[in-house]
């Protein structure tokens, strides 16, 4: 069966520090991979998605970047965090080739102070 792992679960970082959130998927090949963020009082906002290694699409301009160095690995990064980057970050995957049902990881709560 497929599983998705996301870490760290919680993170408290000072403004201006770097960020790296990691996500891996097991039990499937060539998945579509996604990073979502939920800010306080907001819905889940799609940040990045990837349909293959090295292929990243950004949905909103921001202080963050994403990379997919391996088929089942997706990384969310920032060189310098802003206060507004605080939120709950969720990695998700779906079947490659087009599918609407996402399977989410447990999430990473980031607090920028």
């Amino acid at each position: 069966s497929q599983t998705i792992h996301q870490w760290p679960a919680t993170l408290v970082q000072p403004v201006g520090s770097p960020l790296s959130l990691e996500c891996t998927v097991e039990g499937t090949s060539n998945p579509n991979l996604y990073w979502y963020r939920q800010a306080a009082g907001r819905g889940l906002q799609l940040l990045f998605y990837s349909v293959g290694i090295g292929q990243i699409s950004s949905e909103v301009p921001q202080n963050l970047s994403a990379s997919r160095p391996q088929d089942r690995q997706f990384i969310l990064s920032s060189k310098k965090l802003l206060l507004s980057d605080s939120g709950f970050y969720l990695c998700a995957w779906s079947v490659g080739g087009g599918a609407n049902v996402l399977t989410f990881g447990a999430g990473s709560r980031l607090t920028v102070l």
Binding site: I4, Q6, A9, N32, Y34, Y36, G41, R42, G43, L44, Q45, L46, Y49, V51, S57, E59, L90, A92, S94, G98, A99, N100, V101, L102, T103, F104, G105, A106, G107
Partner: protein, 113 residues
């Protein structure tokens, strides 16, 4: 700009009664709708979906109704159980492929024993 709206942030229901969660959308191009359920410290999990060619889809205690003319969908849970207590997210998509899945802000359901 929220294209998918859940105007009730919370809902409390007695065990055994019906829970009705509502969702409105603004984009008439949306043709696939989903509900996700989220427990604390976990990622959302897929619950039920409906395509725009239908007006009702049922899965056990869960039924989703779609009113395209009103751009409104609802999730009915009958009978409600304490284990249903969670945050419910409505989501919508305009085409096959989850990279454009738009989420609402969620409704917290509390089922009182």
């Amino acid at each position: 700009d929220q294209q998918v709206k859940q105007n009730s942030p919370s809902l409390s229901v007695q065990e055994g009664r019906i829970s009705i969660l509502n969702c409105d959308y603004t984009n008439s191009m949306f043709d696939y709708f989903l509900w996700y359920k989220k427990y604390p410290a976990e990622g959302p999990t897929f619950l039920i979906s409906i395509s725009s060619i239908k007006d009702k889809n049922e899965d056990g205690r869960f039924t989703v109704f779609l009113n395209k003319s009103a751009k409104h969908l609802s999730l009915h849970i009958v009978p409600s159980q304490p284990g249903d207590s969670a945050v419910y997210f409505c989501a919508a998509s305009g085409r096959v492929g989850a990279n454009n899945l738009f989420f609402g802000t969620g409704t917290r359901l509390t089922v009182i024993p």
